[in-house]
Symmetry: C2
Subunit: 217 residues, 2 copies
């Protein structure tokens, strides 16, 4: 019997909440019997019945004929996210630096930051890493002390972009706005107190491009 889109009953609502909690806690959907016991439904046929109603109401979807096929509509899936390795602190003021992490460092990082895929466009996961910004030399670029910065290490150079810059003769890495100027780079701290300066392109490597800035408050 076809059921119209209609209000769901109380037990259906409690089933829905249980399914959602189960997925969030366990990372996989529950079985019918899990639902029966978890949501205190009296019989398996009632579970089946209510699932039909929930689907007709547009609250869930499920693939028939396979186990653990229930999914709450709109619940984020693991594929909506990437995890990005946290590779240290970058002092916008210079002095200390972190080199671009290599493939091994990326794979073996201890801290991983989950990032919504929609934030970083079509970047590949292997190309991304995260840094914590330190110092205030980039405040005019809206980057503050403590901000989380997602970097891309295989970028196309664009003049005027924000980059992690490695100055090999000084052994320091720093976050700056970069302009190409003949055989030199112009590095511009985005802070009115600090002056831009020029460095030799020979001894300079652009290690990564800023893709995304995240600040928790």
């Amino acid at each position: 019997m076809a059921r119209q889109n209609q209000r769901i009953t109380e037990s259906q609502q409690s089933m829905l909440s249980f399914i959602q909690d189960y997925i969030l806690t366990n990372g996989r959907p529950p079985t019918f019997r899990d639902i029966q016991h978890g949501a205190n439904i009296s019989s398996l046929s009632m579970v089946s019945h209510h699932l039909d109603a929930l689907r007709d109401a547009g609250e869930i979807e499920f693939s028939e004929g396979s186990s653990r096929g229930v999914w709450v509509k709109g619940l984020p899936k693991p594929g909506d996210f990437m995890r990005v390795p946290m590779c240290g602190v970058i002092t916008c003021d210079g002095e200390h630096g972190v080199p671009t992490p290599d493939a091994d460092a990326l794979r073996n990082a201890e801290d991983w930051i989950p990032v919504a895929r929609s934030l970083v466009g079509n970047a590949k996961m292997e190309d991304l890493y995260a840094l914590r910004a330190s110092g205030d030399s980039m405040i005019d670029a809206m980057i503050n002390d403590g901000d989380l910065i997602i970097m891309h290490r295989n970028f196309d150079y664009k003049d005027g972009g924000l980059y992690a810059v490695m100055l090999s003769d000084r052994n320091e890495t720093t976050l700056k706005r970069v302009f190409k100027d003949g055989k030199k780079f112009k590095l511009k701290p985005e802070n009115p107190r600090l002056k831009p300066f020029w460095v030799d392109a020979q001894t300079t490597q652009l290690q990564g491009r800023v893709v995304c800035v995240v600040r928790a408050m």
Copy 2:
């Protein structure tokens, strides 16, 4: 036979990749037979065998005796994330405004932004919503035109915090830094071009507190 932590073979690696892809694509783990066909393993017993090896190598974990119990270690689980409803644009300069969305508006939002739970601390999902910042009146607070702002609508007031402020007599909502000043609020645009101003606490509602700022570049 107990197996030491050891390098995994080529077919085990390909199984591992398949399982990961399957979870990312489908949101639930595969069955043994899914793995067999997806990773081109010749027999079910080989799947079982390789799964043991992968577990001994620390690459996966699985709950025995239940279906679709495989999980790739380190893969983010749905519970690591929340989705936050996108509720419109807030013009930092004033003029137009969006009211705090009510429970219904939150539930029925069209756009949802996936957000890592670690970003928003222990905030409850029902309390959060997202706005798109427009205008440049908050540039000194490091909020730029186009930034994504995560708001909390059940907050504890803290002097000097960033809030979405509703001025009911002017019917406008705007993003400002707020200080309490007797029976008035001092609203401070964070832009040297703009002056702070005072409003009557009677006609003012703090609709949400800025929890997090995200900028894609």
